[in-house]
């Protein structure tokens, strides 16, 4: 397939359609808006539906209904819109519905929201953080596959740069292993049969009295343990002899990769590690990558969130220092001065020297 110059939002929308997404609902907010526009343009032609929902609460509710019928469905927003969706997100997880959720975030300060969640109760969802548009196209398709495979929501963590820059990409359909049929989906057909379904987040079974929350929640916990063991993804380079290991995710990791390659060419012993899944966090791989390092530096565009997971992975084997920080443009869209190879080079050099960086 030929490559075409595409804006990230357009490419992600195309990837979602290629993956079989047939329902989308959203409420405009920068930098998510263009993804919504892309879905509104593409879905009707594919026999799908895109609704300009009256609120984020309703957007995720609509996706919920579409998912329950067995359709591939998605919604999204920025972190703020996702904040409104949190109650639904946790209950969708307990309803075991395969939502794909796009956070076209304003920077990286939604790491806690994405990985810990602001919803209630014990729940987890997979979070994929693409480094560039090409990977976003692949991870969007993977998201739909993982969501169906595990019957669990999957989030794509993007940002302004991913949504709004253009690159030459080819949106090709990826093949995944066969999935089980969605015999759990409601189509109305089982009414009166004694075997009708109730897709619900509270462990309610037809014909039984009351609910059994404890055994239901424990079963979900076991599933989340399985996901954690099976789905951690990461990328790393130059880790074997690195004195400093730099950890970054998403767009920021792209800058880090470039700077580290330059430093390596100059003979500086620095490596980098990037979680592709923010949850499950690739803790074991990170611990191994950091095994010989004198120091681990975390470069994230926020006040320090992923650093918690890095410390939990390293478990005190090496000092873990923050070299990122809050950085924004005037509009608050997350295009701050930190997103600059010279600035990032300075920060990494500070990390190598064990110097503190202004944050």
């Amino acid at each position: 397939m030929t490559r075409r110059l595409m804006e990230g939002s357009e490419a992600i929308a195309e990837a979602a359609v290629v993956a079989g997404c047939r329902f989308f609902a959203g409420y405009p907010m920068t930098p998510f808006t263009e993804l919504l526009e892309g879905m509104a343009r593409r879905l009707p032609a594919e026999g799908g539906v895109c609704i300009n929902a009256e609120s984020e609460l309703e957007a995720i509710g609509m996706a919920w209904g579409a998912l329950a019928t067995g359709a591939r469905a998605a919604t999204g927003s920025t972190g703020q819109g996702l904040a409104l969706m949190q109650e639904s997100l946790s209950e969708l997880t307990r309803s075991e519905l395969p939502l794909v959720l796009f956070n076209m975030a304003r920077g990286q300060a939604d790491y806690y929201q994405a990985t810990r969640g602001g919803g209630h109760g014990d729940y987890r969802h997979i979070v994929l953080a693409p480094i560039d548009i090409g990977e976003a196209v692949a991870l969007t398709q993977l998201a739909f596959d993982l969501a169906d495979r595990w019957r669990n929501p999957v989030q794509i963590y993007g940002d302004y740069l991913l949504a709004h820059t253009s690159e030459a990409v080819a949106v090709e359909r990826l093949d995944f292993a066969p999935l089980p049929t969605k015999d759990w989906a409601v189509d109305g057909s089982l009414g009166g049969s004694g075997a009708s379904r109730n897709i619900n987040p509270i462990g309610m079974t037809k014909g039984s009295k009351g609910i059994e929350p404890e055994s239901f929640w424990k079963r979900l916990q076991a599933k989340h343990d399985e996901i954690a063991a099976a789905e951690a993804r990461y990328e790393s380079e130059h880790t074997e002899d690195a004195e400093l290991l730099v950890v970054a995710f998403g767009t920021v990791a792209r800058f880090v990769r470039y700077v580290v390659a330059g430093l390596r060419a100059e003979g500086v012993k620095v490596g980098w590690f990037r979680p592709i899944t923010l949850w499950p966090f690739p803790a074991q791989a990170l611990a191994e990558a950091a095994a010989g390092a004198a120091r681990v530096a975390v470069l994230e565009q926020n006040a320090g969130q992923m650093i918690d997971d890095v410390r939990l992975a390293i478990l005190g084997a090496a000092p873990v220092i923050p070299i990122g920080g809050i950085s924004s443009d005037e509009a608050g869209f997350g295009i701050g001065p930190l997103l600059d190879v010279d600035v990032i080079r300075d920060r990494i050099e500070a990390g190598l020297a064990g110097r503190e960086v202004p944050r």
Binding site: R22, F23, A25, V49, I51, A53, E54, S55, L57, E58, A59, G61, M62, A63, W64, G65, A66, L67, A68, T69, G70, A71, A73, E87, S88, E91, S95, V186, D187, G188, S189, L190, G191, G192, S193, G194, S196, R197, N198, I199, N200, P201, I202, M204, T205, K206, G207, S208, K209
Partner: protein
């Protein structure tokens, strides 16, 4: 004299043998109801409304073509008895869930089952937007004027003077505000094709409730817009009245404010 009258009025026919033995209404369980053994309070109106809903679906022959979306309230416990495909929604959020389901399965009857706390308090914007969009779904409101589930608290439909746990002296307009007459709001929206209010306080109204539900579902089948049914239901527990007085209280206290009848039919407001 009167004995003779009776003999002439009730003729015992011997020329035709009934096909089935006589049975009481209570024994004729709708096929979409797994069991009558519910855990709601004695005198509660919600199981009665549920029964009318299931009977209406059955009468239309849609038992194998219906998906219900249920909110959170006392009626949630009835879902284990409903032999119909269901989606359990969050408190207040059923109309948007129904929207997504209908858009993916336009061939199915999609309805919501919500209470006044669920629909009129927590999720009012959902039902209004769904109606305004002319979404081809039916939203069914069980209105008892209280949060029954939490123990009898004021909702947005509680009428002036009604005693609840947080209006112990009765709802006072100056202090607690005014009730929302939701069917009238919904009826005023362009996307609404059918809107009606009924109650389950006596046999005639119960039968009318079933007919109204049928008309709402038929409206959905015609695909001409949003349909809405508000059913006033007894909640003696949440009203703090003796069980036997529930129907009368419903008729006189709630029914005098939330007036019964069809408000919009075939997209036209009914003149009253």
């Amino acid at each position: 004299m009167s004995g003779d009258d009776n003999r002439t009025r009730f003729v015992v026919r011997t020329d035709r043998v009934p096909e089935q033995p006589a049975s009481r209404v209570g024994e004729q369980r709708p096929g979409l109801l797994r069991s009558e053994d519910h855990d709601l309070c004695p005198g509660c109106g919600e199981p009665v409304a549920l029964r009318m809903l299931l009977e209406a679906i059955e009468e239309l022959g849609l038992g194998q073509d219906s998906i219900g979306v249920v909110g959170i309230g006392c009626y949630t416990a009835l879902t284990t008895l409903m032999d119909i495909d269901l989606i359990q929604a969050l408190h207040g959020r059923a109309p948007s869930v129904a929207t997504g389901a209908k858009r993916m399965r336009p061939d199915k009857l999609i309805f919501t089952l919500q209470g006044d706390g669920d629909m009129v308090n927590e999720g009012l914007q959902e039902v209004i937007h769904t109606a305004a969009r002319g979404e081809s779904v039916t939203c069914v409101l069980l209105n008892n004027g209280v949060f029954g589930e939490t123990g009898g608290h004021m909702t947005a439909t509680t009428v002036i003077g009604q005693r609840t746990k947080n209006t112990p002296e009765g709802r006072d307009a100056g202090y607690h505000g005014h009730p929302i007459l939701v069917t009238d709001i919904i009826a005023g929206l362009g996307g609404t094709a059918y809107a009606a209010r009924c109650g389950v306080y006596d046999a005639a109204e119960i039968s009318r409730t079933r007919r109204i539900l049928r008309r709402a579902f038929e409206t959905q089948q015609k695909g001409v817009g949003f349909s809405f049914v508000e059913i006033l239901t007894m909640c003696p527990t949440g009203w703090f009245v003796p069980t036997a007085e529930g129907p009368e209280y419903l008729d006189q206290v709630l029914g005098s404010v939330h007036r019964l009848g069809e408000v919009k039919v075939d997209g036209k407001l009914v003149q009253s």
